[in-house]
């Protein structure tokens, strides 16, 4: 539940923004100017009319109560979620200068708030009364699962054939072949209901145009795809953890079935990647009590921000359940017990050598893993020719022989503006950096300077 009656800080509100543009637009609206009839209730609802450029003002309502986090409704045409009006309204509310007085919800806001309240209550009672709700007919579900497995097996067999054909003729012509070959194969994998395979195959198509060294990368990716296919065909003989990893890598839907872990979760990083179809948001959490690092994924249709947004640098009390598969960081957020609040929790850091070793060890459970989440302690960003690296700070080199070693930054990280924020933050001095460490290098996502509380996002 939300802390009712407690006004949020401007930081908390801004952390809900789906992107920087919304944050900016919302802040501009966080002043009394365009607002009228604003009000709030003790139950945690806030509403107001915002004058836009058109004739009719937008009706904006936010419901902060409820275990699933804030909900928003606005009559504006924006596809952002929450929209700038919702953010502006909440900022006005945080200002606490009488612009948003307590009161009764007006006619245009009341029904929606009431309906939400009922739904939350119903969910709660249903959840308690009927834990076994779900599939109606377990036998039918089993039959469906078997049919799907057969289709995937057929797809994998076909894919193996194609890979073998490719290597019989050699990779060299692949540079000219272009995307067509791979697109068609990817489409076959979609038909085979193996979206995981389809995604990997599609990425193969981009490798030959990815610059020097592409044959090595193409061979690696082909080999890993082959390994995944073999893993699927032999999944009965694999240990349970690895078998679950294979199933999820192939693209079978998995539900978070691990036990719900209640903890104080520090939000380490949040960033979006987008392709033509989908916006994917990754949120990294660190559990204060469990010491676990968890990855939350949420999705939005193309051009639309995913719904889940958590404030980087703050901690929330919540339940998190992990996905099946050995060493999988992926998890889902369950009930939240309190809104995010500032925190001093920090994950313990490791050296660059330990980070590389951690990635190596994680491959045992998941050989397809691109990177692992790692916090590097006391590293300095160092220019290295065209690129940059994060080097262990020598200042506290005790007897560690590897203390003069460094992790190069990934190509993606080098071109982001976050790189310069990191360099500026460091000023040549050691900083702690959280990021993803893998075979391509290190991608910094968040950093904090030595002895300081503030976290700075780099993504």
């Amino acid at each position: 539940m939300t802390q009712q009656g407690v006004r949020w800080s401007a930081d908390q509100v801004l952390s809900l923004a789906p992107d920087a543009a919304s944050r900016k637009a919302g802040s501009k609206l966080g002043a009394a100017g365009p607002w009228s009839e604003a009000g709030c209730s003790d139950e945690g609802a806030v509403w107001g009319l915002c004058k836009g450029s058109g004739g009719r003002p937008y009706q904006t309502v936010v419901d902060l109560a409820g275990g699933a986090g804030p909900a928003y409704k606005c009559s504006c045409p924006s596809r952002k979620f929450p929209c700038k009006h919702a953010l502006g309204l909440l900022l006005l509310w945080t200002g606490d200068d009488g612009a948003v007085p307590s009161g009764q919800a007006p006619d245009w806001a009341g029904p929606w708030l009431a309906a939400r309240g009922e739904r939350t209550a119903r969910k709660r009672s249903e959840g308690a009364a009927d834990p076994a709700s779900g599939s109606a007919d377990p036998r039918a579900a089993l039959r469906r699962a078997e049919r799907r497995a057969e289709r995937i097996t057929a797809g994998v067999t076909e894919l193996e054939q194609r890979l073998a054909d490719l290597l019989r003729g050699g990779l060299a012509p692949a540079e000219q072949a272009g995307y067509g070959l791979w697109e068609e194969t990817a489409a076959r994998m979609v038909d085979a209901q193996a979206p995981g395979l389809a995604g990997r195959v599609r990425e193969l198509g981009a490798v030959p145009s990815s610059g020097p060294g592409w044959p090595v990368r193409l061979l690696e990716e082909c080999a890993l795809l082959h390994l995944l296919g073999q893993g699927w065909l032999g999944r009965e003989r694999l240990p349970e953890g690895l078998s679950a990893t294979v199933r999820s890598r192939v693209g079978l839907p998995v539900s978070a079935e691990g036990p719900a872990v209640r903890d104080r979760w520090l939000v380490l990083a949040q960033y979006d990647t987008a392709d033509a179809r989908l916006t994917t948001r990754r949120i990294w959490l660190h559990g204060a009590g469990s010491g676990r690092t968890a990855l939350l994924l949420s999705y939005g249709a193309a051009g639309r921000a995913p719904e889940l947004a958590l404030p980087v640098g703050q901690a929330l009390e919540a339940e998190v359940s992990s996905h099946p598969g050995a060493g999988q960081p992926r998890a889902v957020l369950g009930e939240r017990f309190a809104s995010p609040a500032p925190t001093r929790i920090r994950p313990p850091g490791v050296t660059t050598a330990q980070a590389a070793a951690r990635y190596g060890a994680a491959l045992r459970d998941d050989p397809w893993l691109e990177s692992v989440p790692v916090t590097l302690r006391e590293v300095v960003p160092v220019p290295d020719g065209e690129s940059w690296q994060l080097a262990d700070a020598t200042s506290d080199a005790t007897s560690d022989a590897t203390s003069d070693s460094a992790l190069p930054l990934t190509r993606a990280a080098r071109t982001r503006p976050g790189l310069w924020r990191l360099v500026a933050l460091s000023g040549g001095a050691p900083v702690t950096v959280f990021g993803e460490c893998g075979h391509r290098g290190f991608t910094p996502l968040t950093a904090w300077p030595r002895g300081e509380e503030k976290m700075v996002t780099l993504c």
Partner: protein, 542 residues
């Protein structure tokens, strides 16, 4: 990433290269290393490659560290309060021109950045390091922001600029500031920099010394004066404007004999700004002989007898003999004489009259424009508020031909000699009488935030313009100024203007809505500025 672990993998590396070669050529052309029995060659190759790929990745180790950069110098200033830091990030994130077309109700954040930087610099805060990249990017795009942005950026901004060629301007921007030594113990360094420095460094050095000890700067300059190039002499001489005093007269008198005409006229101009100088009294003598009161007419009237020639003595004192095209020689000389003569000349010469009485006198034979314009220039040069006041006339004066017959540009300059409150009052009166169309230039010389009467006059005038049915963008210049300059405390006064008024019959279509929008933006911007100022103040208390 990184390098593979070496000793046990040495053969493996070779095996991997072998696999890559085979894969490139195809197993039809090249047999892969022996795989498991019964596996087809391509599958055996994929098996082996999978093992090698995972093995290579699992065996990765960090690379050797490159040479670390020198740490950034310490910034002794106190850190920016957190809320102000967020505000800065917001201001820097605003890219101008994203909205396009009509400006809507949202404030123009980029326009507030200069004000924010000035306030933060006045408080003496250090920037949050992570904001520096965006700050440098902003300063890169807008040269007018650079001085304030780099001052705020401080030593770490310069350090950062050293690592990114895009920001190289930050290293060039302030060579003098970095080079100018603070104490007298650095006399040797000063001397060396003055003798060996680049021109820009020497100008900056001279300006910096002049601002602290004017005499030392003059001595430095006179020491090498004879050997400097003419263009350089001009620039150096110009730096004496700062802290100009009678002590400089002897040096300037010498410069009157300079080979370069531009140097001569600059020296003359500087001397004429010293009312007690010998040049000023020579000019006074010449000017007196040109202007007199004629009592033979009905009312006392000024009569002008312009000089008949420009002799060599006049030329030596900086009078330019050749008139520009389209101007009479004699009036050209007269203008220069009167401009350079001390204004104190006139009450004595013209029957003990005050400046206001003198300006009010009729002038015979159409000389008024020439004479008053020259007095305006003299009042600005000599920073004489009494004369400026007289020449400006009452702000509400409606007759264009009266004592106010000076151009807007001249008025703006005259206003500059008055103190801030008087300036604001005068402009407020002007706006009340004449409205906004001509006020833009005058508003530009008023202190920010605008004094209350001035702010009220501007808002009233905007309100009148709205009632008259015109469109707000006819006043977008003044609107923009008001957003930046109006005192945020005035915001609540504007609440009554935010509503969309009923459309009057004769009003332009839709104008009411646009005005409401423009006032909304004004109010929102004022509240933002008030919040900005509050955030910068906040930490002082805490």
């Amino acid at each position: 990433m990184i390098r593979n672990s070496t000793p046990p993998e040495a053969p493996a590396t070779g095996a991997w290269e072998e696999l890559v070669t085979t894969a490139l050529l195809g197993t039809d052309r090249r047999t892969p290393p022996a795989g498991a029995p019964g596996r087809a060659a391509p599958v055996a190759l994929l098996d082996a490659a999978a093992v090698q790929t995972v093995r290579r990745r699992a065996g990765l180790r960090p690379a050797p560290a490159a040479r670390r950069p020198e740490p950034a110098p310490k910034d002794p200033r106190p850190p920016l309060p957190a809320a102000a830091g967020r505000r800065l990030a917001m201001l820097l994130a605003d890219r101008p021109g994203t909205a396009g077309g009509r400006r809507g109700t949202a404030p123009d954040l980029m326009e507030l950045l200069p004000q924010w930087l000035a306030a933060a610099n006045a408080h003496g805060y250090a920037p949050p390091p992570e904001a520096l990249p965006a700050l440098l990017d902003a300063a890169r795009g807008r040269t007018d922001l650079r001085p304030a942005a780099l001052a705020f950026g401080g030593p770490r901004a310069r350090w950062l600029a050293g690592l990114n060629p895009d920001w190289r301007f930050a290293l060039r921007a302030a060579p003098g500031a970095a080079a100018a030594p603070a104490g007298s113990e650095d006399a040797g360094r000063v001397r060396r920099l003055w003798e060996e420095g680049l021109f820009a460094e020497r100008v900056a050095l001279l300006a910096s010394i002049r601002s602290r000890t004017p005499a030392a700067a003059r001595e430095l300059l006179s020491g090498s004066w004879a050997t400097e190039r003419a263009e350089d002499r001009l620039m150096f001489l110009d730096s004496l404007r700062t802290g100009l005093s009678p002590d400089d007269e002897a040096f300037l008198e010498e410069a009157l004999a300079d080979r370069s005409r531009n140097v001569r006229s600059t020296a003359a101009e500087l001397l004429s700004a010293l009312p007690g100088s010998a040049l000023a009294s020579r000019m006074s003598g010449r000017a007196r002989s040109c202007v007199a009161v004629d009592h033979t007419r009905g009312t006392p009237t000024l009569v002008v007898e312009a000089p008949h020639e420009c002799d060599s003595a006049m030329e030596r004192d900086g009078i330019v003999p050749k008139a520009p095209a389209g101007r009479g020689e004699r009036s050209w000389w007269l203008g220069q004489l009167v401009e350079a003569a001390p204004l104190a000349t006139w009450p004595g010469r013209l029957g003990g009259r005050t400046p206001r009485e003198i300006v009010a006198l009729p002038v015979a034979d159409g000389w008024q424009g020439e004479l008053h314009a020259a007095w305006c220039r003299a009042a600005v040069r000599q920073r004489d508020a009494q004369w400026a006041r007289a020449l400006l006339g009452p702000s509400a004066a409606s007759d264009a031909g009266g004592p106010g017959a000076v151009s807007l540009a001249e008025r703006a300059k005259l206003l500059g000699t008055l103190d801030a409150a008087e300036r604001a009052d005068w402009v407020a009166g002007f706006i009340a009488a004449h409205g906004l169309p001509e006020a833009f230039q005058l508003l530009g010389v008023c202190a920010v935030p605008w004094a209350a009467p001035l702010g009220r006059a501007v808002v009233d005038a905007l309100n009148i313009a709205r009632d008259a049915g015109s469109y707000p963008w006819s006043f977008s210049g003044v609107m923009g100024l008001a957003e930046r300059c109006l005192d945020p405390a005035e915001a609540s006064r504007l609440d009554g203007l935010l509503a969309v008024p009923d459309e009057a019959e004769d009003a332009s279509p839709g104008a009411g809505g646009y005005w409401a929008e423009a006032f909304q933006r004004l109010v929102t911007t004022l509240r933002l500025r008030s919040a900005m100022a509050g955030e910068l103040e906040a930490a002082r208390a805490g």
